[in-house]
Symmetry: C2
């Protein structure tokens, strides 16, 4: 019998990790391979060691804490998430999954129950695109979708390539090929994460069982209009790049709203206006478009309509809009067997749950390429995330950890 | 009889002034009291001296080149414009008026014709708001709308106050009171400027006679929404500060377009989105709103409707929109007598002209507070300005200079 997860321990871990922060007072910022992120890695290794886990890192910095099962010829079971953040974020996104994984393995170890497969907590490298503009670096490399060669052309804003940064930190290029996992290398993977939406909070339900993970299609948009004087140019003579950007943004919002049956989101999160002066009509706008869905077809439909509208805006406003595809990942349907086990465990533990789909991107999307994968969500207060207002009650993480621990133990004893 | 303006000389002056540029290759940038702007002042003083003008500067850096009339008891006649630019601008906005003024005074001096009133070319300090966020510093101070006390609270992006900057450059605070001009101190003022709109270019007419100058009402807008994860937050649960900003921008555009009978422009030129990340719904947007008209009532009507729409957007989107009034200047109707003289001179010289109103802001707006004031425009290629694409043919500036020279001479001999 497993003990209940320890709320105090979960809270202490989260609060300690949260001290590794480059923007104290303005939310939490912990960017890949910065001083703060490296310090948080060191701390987690230390805590894994204290738990009696075998600690290792692969050639892209994915960090493993392994609790040995009795038979190493079986593929392991993984849980895990990430410790990096976007700018001015919260203390739960990613970290909840690391801490619940460590606590689950502690519960299993301390129960003395024998299990077959190795169990590992994995800290995936840079789930957020904050530093290199590309998300899920670690899990993407595991899925074979980011090669050592690719790391040469991925650069941060200061122009450093991921390749150079890995070399500087002492990661071994020769080991990079071993980062990639084949089907069968990992038996199953379960990630606990905060919901980042308000379904659980609104319904008052502590656990969400994730049916699928949306994948983003991201475009870099450049709008070229005609820069001119704000007072001197009559309204009818303008080719204002920013009013065109505004129209495209509202069109995207409308299209995403209208297809709500299949859950599509459309977001313009990044906008830079040139020359950005009060009395100058913008001549150029750079912005991002992020479209997500669990359903490839719904995404395509929104995109097709968006391209039609883009052409209308171009011709009506006399501007040129370029959409460059930056990223186009395929959504994941979660493994039905693991979902069944998760639900059984909720029922056995007397914990209510609901089905959800994950709008955000997670490492599980890529882990799902080579292993049976599922996720469980815990509530986000008011649905807010990627913000210093992000909050999840420690008690809810503990409930999720209980479900996770039972599920991992069950999976670790499965034959196939 | 006055000689014709010399195109080669006008071109040489403009090209030389254009070498004082902090962004060579990316348009012209000459910001108040930077190395480049100070060098261009020195050059203009030198050229004024060569022309035999008496050179002086007041306590805010307004620069005067005076050609003495035969009777100093009469108030002088001014012409002039500015030499500072917005970022990445062109070589004509402002400079055309300085160069045509110097050439006009040269023509008058060399003609040997006797005239009564002093004639001055004035280089007004910082017409553009580039450095201190407020336009027309020099002429505004002349109008008594910028006091020495005010200069303490006007700061550039590095936090330097205009007061400190003036002190560092050796301007005498004790002389600041003398910057202000009373009604009667200046008999008349005529400014030549590029049109910054495409009426003249489209019609193929070389001279525009300005009936009035629009004045901008500028708001600093802050939109507070709710920052959250781009994938995690359903479309219906969002309080996206940027879609709200887009809607407000399009509303402003629509209102300005609809009131085209009275010429209103509405521009959002400056936009900053927070946190400005691809996968984060913007929680905050800062932007500028610039509304101009020659007619105070039309402006008020647009503003009233804008405020109603703002409230609708706030309640529909669950965001808070704050509009802080930054600037609210009163439009100017140009002096009918000077307009008549300008038109007569066009006719005498066989130069076609058309009536225009000035959308952009000029120093003449403030000079008009204490002197009879008028403006003449020369064509802007494709109406483009505040851009490196800004262009005016040197021949057109020469034609404008001919009209200006005859007009200044006539005004300089008027009794009252």
């Amino acid at each position: 019998m497993l003990q209940k997860a320890n709320v105090t321990r979960i809270r202490a871990w989260l609060e300690k990790i949260n001290t590794f922060n480059s923007t104290p007072g303005a939310g939490t910022t912990r960017v890949l391979f910065t001083k703060e992120e490296l310090a948080s890695r060191a701390y987690i290794k230390e805590e894994m060691n204290k738990l009696g886990l075998e600690v290792s890192e692969d050639a892209i910095g994915n960090l493993f804490g392994v609790l040995r099962g009795k038979n190493r010829k079986f593929a392991p079971v993984w849980t895990g998430s990430h410790i990096d953040t976007v700018l001015n974020a919260g203390m739960f996104d990613g970290m909840a999954g690391i801490v619940s994984g460590m606590e689950a393995l502690r519960l299993i170890k301390e129960s003395g129950i024998v299990f077959k497969r190795d169990l590992a907590v994995v800290v995936y490298t840079s789930e957020e695109p904050t530093r290199f503009g590309l998300s899920c670096l670690g899990s993407r490399a595991m899925a074979g979708e980011l090669t050592l060669e690719d790391t040469r052309s991925i650069r941060d804003e200061e122009g450093n390539s991921l390749y150079e940064v890995l070399g500087t930190l002492g990661y071994d290029y020769k080991e990079f090929a071993a980062v990639k996992r084949e089907k069968g290398d990992v038996y199953a993977a379960v990630e606990l994460h905060i919901e980042q939406n308000l379904h659980l909070d609104k319904e008052g339900i502590p656990i969400g069982i994730v049916k699928g993970i949306c994948a983003p299609t991201i475009y870099e948009v450049t709008i070229n209009g005609c820069q001119s004087h704000a007072g001197g140019t009559s309204m009818g003579d303008r080719h204002d790049a920013f009013t065109a950007a505004s129209e495209l943004t509202l069109v995207l919002e409308k299209l995403a709203r209208e297809s709500k049956g299949t859950y599509v989101t459309g977001t313009v999160g990044k906008v830079n206006v040139l020359p950005n002066a009060v009395n100058v009509i913008p001549g150029e706008v750079h912005m991002s478009i992020d479209i997500r869905s669990i359903d490839v077809e719904s995404k395509k439909m929104v995109l097709n309509k968006l391209f039609t509208e883009k052409e209308r805006i171009e011709s009506e406003r006399g501007v040129i809009i370029s959409l460059d595809l930056e990223n186009d990942d395929i959504p994941l349907k979660c493994d039905e067997n693991i979902i069944r086990i998760l639900k059984n465990n909720c029922e056995n533990l007397g914990i209510t749950y609901m089905d959800l789909i994950s709008g955000p991107y997670h490492d599980s999307l890529f882990v799902g390429r080579f292993a049976k994968t599922a996720m469980l969500f815990v509530p986000s207060k008011n649905g807010i995330s990627h913000s210093k207002e992000e909050w999840t009650d420690f008690e809810d993480i503990a409930l999720g950890t209980d479900v996770l621990a039972h599920t991992l133990l069950e999976l670790a004893n499965k034959d196939n």
